[in-house]
Symmetry: C2
Subunit: 204 residues, 2 copies
DNA sequence: CTATAATGGATAGCGATACTATCTAAGTCA
DNA sequence: TGACTTAGATAGTATCGCTATCCATTATAG
């Protein structure tokens, strides 16, 4: 398969494919001559993953780290999630106060060393954002967040496929990011349903 | 309070504040002369909301729609959430197939007319993204998503403050967007905790 | 076996976004 | 009076994710 055919089948323009190769998102084709290369199904699949990530709002740099993790995952399973999260998480901010985040995380079963600091920083940043806007999660709501999120994460981790290493890696790495838009979209639907039920519209 | 003081107290540069006024995110100060204006606490609060939204990844245009909703909310409470969601949701895509999304939404208690199409389109887009990447949510996981998300939404809607209209509006509008980073960050922590418990690290 | 077209590689340009800098005329304040 | 600030306008900047154009090389159709 030449680049033009890859472009047509994926409906990604050929110059964009070249760009992804330049940026290290997509491996080069196998060279058949100094100015010729051949692409195969693996390029097709990888290209679809790249597009899905980019369309989910993942940047080029983050996507590169994601596919590097897919291609070269850590040997131990307990390091895989951390690697996937590291690909899409800004580096730790030392100036951030992690105490509130740690207190929250404790409600998820967190203990130091069970989870890396970068991810905890994410919680701290989110809390800071809420606080700066003068918004606070009600005391009755936060426990529900923790409990429900924990339930979601448990189901996701329990669902890690065991048939092959590759499928487990792909599930963990892609699922940690690609499921986010789905969860947020489902939340909006659920909010509207719940709101409709509570404020049962007098309509007209 | 003059613009320079507003800038100093909010640590947002004065030119940026001018830019927000130009873009309609922040109302003008009250004019004391043709080239002078006075800002007050309401500008300060609004500015903090704007920064929180923008730092959560909301664009200028979406932020403008959000603050317009805050300033001029729909009269009926059951329309408020829809207005808030509309501010940050792309317009409905007619070419999208909503059947899979509707089936999922049914698991949240959705019925036609309980929730607008734009939000359902969001679910459809998310599903499409997953599918294009060759990723699928395991059959055991999806029900947990639906159940847990519904629980979250119910708690959030039950937590709508009833003391004043303004606080209800601010809670619903800001909460629908600003809580997203928190939920995603908590999910990452929970995933790492759950993963650590399942693949209890044999370490080195 | 030449003419046309496509390829890989490199470089430069584009359009959108979120600012940022500069200028001017008008106004404040010591 | 005179240094400083302001609003408003315009233009410039940095980043991002492409996109367009070039070139020498190479497949391929007639």
């Amino acid at each position: 398969m030449k680049i033009s055919e890859l472009a047509k089948q994926s409906s990604v323009p050929a110059p964009t494919i070249k760009y992804y190769i330049r940026e290290g998102l997509l491996p080069e084709g196998t060279r058949t001559a100094p100015t010729q290369a051949e692409y195969d199904e693996s390029h097709m699949r990888r290209l679809r993953v790249i597009r899905a990530l980019i369309e989910s709002g993942v940047s080029i740099a983050e996507t590169r780290r994601m596919v590097e993790t897919l291609d070269d995952p850590p040997a131990q399973p307990h390091l895989l999630l951390g690697a996937a999260h590291a690909a899409v998480t800004p580096p730790v901010d030392e100036t951030l106060d992690l105490t509130a985040a740690a207190r929250l995380a404790a409600g998820l079963g967190w203990e130091p060393e069970k989870c890396d600091d970068a991810v905890l920083c994410g919680v701290a940043r989110a809390l800071q954002g809420l606080e700066k806007a003068g918004f606070s999660v009600p005391d009755e709501v936060m426990p529900v967040y923790l409990e429900s999120i924990r339930r979601i994460a448990d189901a996701e981790i329990a669902g890690v496929p065991t048939d092959s290493v590759e499928s487990a890696v792909s599930y963990v790495v892609l699922g940690s990011v690609l499921a986010e838009p789905l969860l947020l979209a489902l939340r909006r639907v659920a909010q509207q349903v719940s709101s409709a039920e509570r404020f049962s519209g007098p309509a007209s």
